[in-house]
């Protein structure tokens, strides 16, 4: 009761990275609150799955293992999650802000009439005082996220409803082994007692999934372009530059929306979070929505013709100039100096 629970997503039979990242965060939150950390795994062929979760500090692992539960469909996963939450009454429930988490989370929150905050970039514990009602609260979950196109950062709380639910994107939190020898309790859920035929009104009949060839998450060097790059053709210049220096191309949301770059390259709150050793921001103004996904880069170079661009404030080097002039010069000088 009153614990922290993480809905653990599966990726080809393994616990997804985003879920392990949330286990790590969940462990920290549970320690701060002095409660247990729970994991909920729903799927098929889950023998020994707990071995992947215990080192991350799971005290209780709920497992629903049934061939009808893989691949993911909304309703059976919702019914089981709601059932577990109603019995266990976690005070905090976390999910990945993935296609699955963003499908499941709202449905579960609606069923439990509880609040859900999407795409949090930070989670903290803190007090709250409601002056109007004269109430004070201790140990609420602060769900922190950029809002309004990244122009503001909002701290959202659920003072009265439980669980306090939040989704977080992959890469935002860091995963870390808590204790290789951590022990926890395994609870197998009797699926047949919970599910009914009405949970199976939607069926997956076909699936084509390929691991995307584009994966910039772990790239040591990222050349990222924004709307200011101006065109898909100019983006090719960034690709040439990235190829030369052994990096990958990233993009801001505005650039992706404009069709300059693939969705998989989007960096920021609604894209991937990266921590490269070098981040070269080209024609990116630097709204918080974008910087949330790259501000932990070891070194940041900003190339922008606006000397007042917000990104300049977090950059180590600021080059004021046009991207299409500066990049060819950088390529030329790089070649000249590495011969």
């Amino acid at each position: 009761m009153n614990n922290v629970c993480v809905y653990c997503e599966l990726d080809e039979g393994k616990i997804a990275d985003v879920s392990l990242e949330l286990m790590t965060k969940g462990r920290t939150l549970a320690n701060e609150l002095g409660v247990q950390l729970e994991a909920l795994v729903i799927g098929s062929n889950l023998k020994n799955i707990e071995k992947q979760l215990l080192p991350y500090g799971a005290d209780k692992i709920f497992i629903a293992d049934d061939k009808r539960l893989d691949p993911y469909v909304t309703q059976p996963h919702t019914t089981i999650t709601v059932n577990v939450f109603e019995k266990e009454k976690p005070q905090i429930a976390l999910m990945g802000a993935t296609i699955i988490g963003r499908d499941l989370g709202p449905r579960v929150s609606s069923a439990l009439k509880s609040g859900l905050t999407a795409d949090c970039t930070s989670l903290e514990i803190g007090p709250h005082e409601d002056k109007k009602q004269g109430k004070t609260y201790e140990n609420l979950l602060y769900q922190i996220r950029p809002a309004f196109g990244g122009n503001i950062v909002a701290t959202i709380i659920n003072p009265d409803c439980r669980p306090q639910m939040a989704t977080v994107r992959e890469g935002v939190m860091k995963k870390e082994i808590f204790n290789e020898n951590h022990k926890g309790e395994i609870i197998n859920i009797d699926v047949d007692k919970i599910l009914t035929d009405t949970d199976f009104l939607v069926k997956v009949i076909e699936r084509h999934v390929e691991k995307s060839k584009i994966n910039i998450k772990n790239s040591p060097i990222i050349v990222a372009g924004g709307y200011g790059v101006g065109s898909k053709e100019n983006f090719q210049l960034l690709h040439n530059f990235a190829d030369l220096i052994g990096g990958d191309v990233g993009a801001s949301r505005a650039a992706v929306d404009a069709g300059y770059a693939e969705h998989e390259r989007q960096i920021g709150q609604t894209g991937v979070t990266v921590r490269p050793k070098l981040y070269i921001a080209c024609g990116i103004s630097g709204q918080v929505q974008h910087t949330a996904g790259m501000e932990e880069s070891s070194m940041i170079i900003a190339i922008n013709n606006d000397p007042e661009a917000p990104i300049n404030k977090i950059a180590d080097y600021v080059i004021t100039g046009n991207v299409e002039d500066v990049i060819p010069k950088m390529m030329k000088q790089y070649k000249a100096n590495t011969k």
């Binding site: 691949p71 309703q75 919702t78 993935t98 296609i99 963003r102 499908d103 989370g105 709202p106 449905r107 929150s109 609606s110 069923a111 009439k113 609040g115 859900l116 999407a118 795409d119 709250h128 769900q143 309004f148 196109g149 990244g150 122009n151 503001i152 950062v153 909002a154 701290t155 959202i156 009265d160 009104l201 939607v202 069926k203 997956v204 009949i205 076909e206 699936r207 084509h208 999934v209 390929e210 995307s212 060097i221 929306d257 070098l278 070194m299 900003a302 300049n312 180590d316 080097y317 600021v318 080059i319 100039g321 046009n322 010069k329 950088m330 000088q333 790089y334 000249a336 100096n337 590495t338």
Partner: protein, 291 residues
């Protein structure tokens, strides 16, 4: 097959993609007045999906439902110009301050008030919040299935429909049973433009509040042309538990809003001259950032 009854959920949103310098007030709050209000982009994809179904299933009706202030009637007219049969504006002070849960409760009560609805189609998410929560929550409130991230409705046979979804790294084809909720991605086809004939016919389509604010002539024009009336529903038109609406029905509260101020780093300023860039590249190579 007889036609379907489709409800499209749409939202008028501030255009957060084109935020200018005056978008924030000095006190750090958002200056909504400085942002143009637009049809939420993915709701237009949703409208297109609905109109596409209507094209191939004669007798289908498409009603667009929005919740918002009086001004939100603008997007209902826009939807009608593009081919929707009608719109419903859900507007009341009782709805103000709603988070996604209270919003979906209100919308679901409005849908429950309509004659048997086969399909509810919404954009995946709205650009002012990016939560993607209202679609699934409406489905849960109505206790019907949901199919999110849809790109295409492949077929509809009796009460069964087959839908292509865009998922991480690929696609999924699912079969669902109506009634259900579908949320649509921006990877789905763009919405058709306004139809000139419809624009002429429905130019003066208005809500009752809009007519009250305008000249008598318009009221005269409305007589005998019921199709020019955009129904406006308040809390009295839906059977709803008032506690679950608006601020009181919203479990999430905004504790704090900060406008974004970066802690300025000590950054080195360079020009685009050959000399500066040569210096920078040498620096990056010598400290092993590159090379």
């Amino acid at each position: 097959m007889k036609g379907l009854k489709i409800v499209v959920l749409a939202k008028q949103v501030p255009d957060t993609r084109n935020v200018g310098k005056d978008a924030m007030k000095a006190d750090g709050t958002v200056n909504r007045a400085a942002l143009p209000a637009i049809f939420n982009p993915e709701d237009l994809n949703a409208l297109e999906l609905a109109l596409n179904i209507k094209d191939s299933n004669p007798g289908t009706t498409v009603t667009v439902l929005t919740m918002g202030p009086g001004r939100a009637a603008e997007i209902l007219r826009e939807a009608i110009y593009r081919g929707a049969d009608n719109g419903v504006l859900l507007t009341d002070r009782a709805f103000a301050g709603a988070d996604t849960l209270a919003t979906s409760y209100a919308l679901s009560r409005a849908i429950a008030k309509m004659d048997k609805v086969d399909l509810i189609i919404a954009g995946r998410q709205a650009i002012d919040g990016d939560t993607a929560q209202v679609g699934p929550q409406v489905a849960e409130k109505l206790n019907i299935p949901q199919i999110t991230y849809a790109e295409e409705v492949i077929s509809i046979k009796k009460e069964k429909l087959t839908v292509k979804r865009r998922i991480e790294g690929g696609i999924e084809i699912v079969e669902g049973k109506m009634p259900c909720v579908i949320t649509v991605n921006n990877s789905a086809p763009d919405c058709r433009p306004r139809n000139v004939r419809r624009l002429m016919k429905y130019k003066h389509a208005t809500t009752v509040s809009e007519r009250q604010e305008t000249d008598d002539d318009y009221i005269g024009m409305q007589n005998g042309r019921e199709y020019l009336d955009i129904p406006e529903w308040t809390v009295n038109n839906i059977e709803a538990d008032i506690i679950q609406l608006g601020l009181s029905g919203s479990p999430t509260k905004v504790k704090q809003i900060e406008s974004v101020v970066f802690a300025a780093k000590e950054s080195k300023k360079l020009t685009d001259s050959d000399k500066d860039i040569d210096w920078l590249m040498k620096e990056l190579i010598s400290n092993h950032t590159l090379g």
